[in-house]
């Protein structure tokens, strides 16, 4: 009288422990927000955030040899997946260090005491004078990291979509929480939310079309269906195109880049660092997995698409960045250009391209976090000073900070002895290996153009007399200093001694299906 029509799925909880740790820490964070008094929240949240991120990274390192499909094939924990998750966790730890900074802003941290208070209202001023702090940012941050880890290992289009939403929704909120320039921040949040929701819809339509074609949302089944029936149909082409739109939006590739400058400019600097570094890594991780695993059978369809987008992205980002007078916007356009370079690696559809892309993401992620750490430090009483001319003479006033920033700029401009050089070299090499000379030439041209505005920043910092009202970089607390030191060290070490990391990436092998 008790027919079992359904059997419980077998789930290896040990293999899924990194996700569980981060996700559960987020949930506990929400409970802490609900029940702990205001003064007790911050220490608990810090312990939860750092504990879970470091713990998850530790478990990941211990578990690194147990590869395979988990949770009934919904999650693929494979070499690249573990690499991406590890990279995301490391970047997240650095971002958490930036987020816990409390010395730079005279009023406290980088986040609004209450994001719902009307900008410039008496309410807001009162909250500031009373020294209120927002600690909800920590659970949001952890949820986002949880979504990212799921996003890069999703082996199922539905999990992919859910992970995308788990990652994005907290980000929309975090973008609107800047303590300074509230209106700009709220505008950024709203733009990001509306465009992000739009791109999610594209992704969902793509999923629907691919499901219509193959009858499954699993990557492996879709790949098999494509292999069994290589003839292209409208469903596949439409599905691939719409799916790519959704993913390329998160990457910020042209023509889906419109949100990047505004959102980078308006968000609080630590959140911008998080978006520029971790989100980009995540989106590329998912793009690589979807393209290589699920859609590898129709790569003749998407390769030309990616060539065009990569070329456009590099050229557009580099050209428009030249005209920028705001530091954050310039970095935003530079990040668009960098996405174009990484897309070269993706578009090769070879293992070398995969490794080159991963290496590029490692290099780019750490450099970006360093850049935003410094942007948060160069400030006056009203907040960050992001106009380029305000940076004049920084080299004289705060030489150490200026030198670090110079290193990052050289890395982005891919000068030798920095991580950027090796990264770009590997990417171009992988493109040449598949005889894609045209794209490499476009890439070199874009690099040369990009070098101009990176060098310009260095010139402004070191060879321009300081103007009135441009103070030295503020002295940060130990956390920001640590994040900055790590990013700078990684940037230099990867440029001088890249072999261990390259070996690590190549040992990781390819995607499982």
């Amino acid at each position: 009288m008790n027919p079992e029509v359904m059997t419980a799925p077998s789930i290896d909880y040990i293999a899924l422990l990194p996700y569980i740790i981060v996700g559960a820490a987020g949930v506990i964070g929400v409970i802490v927000e609900a029940f702990v008094g205001r003064n007790g929240r911050r220490p608990i949240q810090l312990v939860l955030a750092f504990g879970s991120l470091i713990g998850a990274f530790g478990v990941l390192v211990v578990n690194r040899t147990t590869l395979g499909l988990q949770a009934e094939g919904a999650i693929a924990i494979d070499g690249p997946g573990i690499l991406f998750m590890g990279l995301i966790l490391l970047l997240a730890i650095l971002v958490a260090l930036l987020m816990s900074e409390r010395q730079l802003d005279p009023a406290g941290d980088a986040f609004a005491p209450r994001a719902s208070a009307l900008p410039g209202s008496d309410d807001e001023r009162e909250l500031t004078t009373r020294g209120y702090f927002q600690t909800e940012i920590w659970p949001l941050f952890l949820f986002s990291v949880f979504g990212m880890m799921l996003f890069v290992t999703a082996s199922n289009l539905l999990v992919l979509f859910i992970a995308l939403e788990i990652m994005s929704l907290p980000l929309y909120l975090m973008a609107g929480m800047s303590r300074r320039r509230r209106l700009l921040s709220q505008e950024a949040a709203l733009k990001y939310f509306i465009l992000g929701a739009f791109s999610s819809a594209f992704l969902l339509f793509g999923i629907a079309l691919l499901y219509g074609y193959s009858g499954s949302v699993e990557f492996s089944v879709i790949a098999d269906a494509l292999a069994a029936e290589p003839g292209q149909t409208a469903l596949v082409v439409g599905g691939v195109a719409l799916l790519s739109v959704g993913l390329l939006f998160k990457i910020g590739a042209v023509p889906f880049h419109a949100w990047v400058p505004d959102v980078y400019q308006g968000s609080p600097a630590p959140v911008t660092a998080f978006m520029a570094a971790a989100v980009k890594v995540t989106a590329f991780g998912a793009l690589l997995r979807v393209m290589y695993v699920a859609l590898g059978g129709v790569r003749w369809e998407w390769e030309p698409l990616l060539w065009i987008i990569a070329g456009l992205t590099m050229l557009f980002g580099s050209v428009v960045a030249i005209a920028q007078t705001d530091m954050k916007r310039m970095i935003a356009y530079s990040s668009i250009a960098q996405a174009g370079f990484i897309l070269i690696g993706v578009s090769t559809a070879t293992a070398e391209g995969l490794y080159a892309s991963i290496f590029y993401l490692v290099a780019y992620g750490f450099t970006t976090i360093g850049i935003f750490a410094i942007i948060a430090m160069v400030r006056d009483a009203g907040g960050e000073m992001t106009r380029l001319d305000q940076w004049a003479g920084l080299g004289k006033r705060s030489p150490l900070v200026a030198v670090s920033f110079g290193i990052f700029m050289f890395a982005l401009a891919s000068f030798p002895l920095t991580s950027g050089f090796i990264a770009k070299f590997l990417v171009f090499e992988s493109a040449l290996a598949v005889d894609n000379l045209g794209l490499v030439i476009v890439g070199v041209i874009a690099s040369v153009m990009a070098a101009f505005f990176y060098i310009r920043v260095v010139v402004i910092m070191f060879f321009r007399e300081p103007v009135e009202g441009s103070p030295a970089a503020a002295v940060p607390s130990a956390t920001t200093t640590l994040a900055l030191a790590v990013s700078a060290a990684v940037t230099v070490i990867l440029g001088v001694l890249p072999e261990p990391v390259i070996n690590l990436i190549e040992q990781a092998g390819v995607f499982l299906r």
Binding site: R125, L127, R130, G131
Partner: protein, 455 residues
Amino acid sequence: MSEYTFNDPWWLIILKVLAIFVGLVLMTLFTIWWERRVVSRMQNRIGPNRVGPFGLLQSLMDGFKLGLKEEIIPKTAHLAVYWIAPVISATMAFLAFAVIPFGPMVSIFGVETPLQLTDFPVSVLYVLAIASIGVYGIVLAGWSSGSTYPLLGGLRSSAQMISYELAMSMSFVAVFLYAGTMSTSGIVAAQEPIWYAVILLPSLLIYATAMVGETNRAPFDLPEAEGELVGGFHTEYSSLKFALFFLAEYINMVTVSALATTLFLGGWIAPWPLSLWDGANVGWWPLLWWFVKVQLFIFAFIWLRGTLPRLRYDQFMRFGWKVLIPASLLWIVIVAAARVVRNEFSVTTQELLLLGGGLLVVIIVGSWVLQVRSERRERAQVEAAKAEMDKPFDPYAGGYPVPPLPGQEFTYTSRRAKAAVVEGTATRTATAVLPGESADAPVPSTSDPEEGTHA
């Protein structure tokens, strides 16, 4: 699970549809008269007694009168929506009745057929869906009138209906757990030995509360709170359009009562003393039992209206969100857990009841402890407030001149002392003062603007 197959001939379908339609209209007329009579009795009045025997035709005459009245459409109204709103309301009210079972198999002109228009595996879900569409009628009516009161009434009404719909829908989960189906006839059949009103009493209580809120009836008739909102969403409606809303409201009342009967009171199944008679559950007799049970609920509606004063809106929403929803969630968990224990670990019902009794004791003791603690805290707060009052009055509290509170004494402070106060507080908070602001920014006071709950 005995679910009927519905393959009535077309003339029978039309017959049943007509019967339901006419029945509902008659039921509405009757209920209005019945309500007026009962409420009158409760208030020591007589009520309508002029038209027809006992005034029975009063509502019918009112209907005719409304039809002959001038129709006033405000010039600010959005015409198309204004016209369609009562149609939606009335149509959905009728439609929800399609799946209610009135009785067992009977023979109509030689065709064996159940006394029910139709049924399918998701009947209850269908009722909920139709009820949700009915909300559109109300919110559109309020919005399209282009007037303040209807807009507010429509908003309140929709917020209220969706809030109580949650509790209502959750109260069904336990029923589905036991019945194993969402088909209305299946649920009635599953109550053959014992009604769910007995074994799932908390579900019934939650449902009974939610259904009053769902139908906008007293004491939850806030959308039509005459004192605040005139007529609520139908303020700007007159003539037969108004009559349609009235009709919809009373049909909804009948529908939720019928649903309660179906889900908890065993539908058309005869109650205990009657069930001893073999013929009680066959033929046309169950229709009578069903009708009596539905009238029971309708009488409860009327009784509530005659007895209880209207709630305030915040009390009402608090009750819905902070009492009904958590209670139904908890109840779902308890029922499911009990069932899982019974299914998985061969525990007898007796042991389960003992365990439940033990848990109940724990809960009661626990809540008593909590109660004592919260009372103690409250007392401490009162003491603290008293101590606050006893403190000498500070005319410059928070950096601004303030008047003394009741019970406080104003004492003269010299100008120099005031200046010293301002100076002192300003330096204390200097670290947190925004740059560009003058030093005499507002100084923290003791009250906490963010969350009052975090004492």
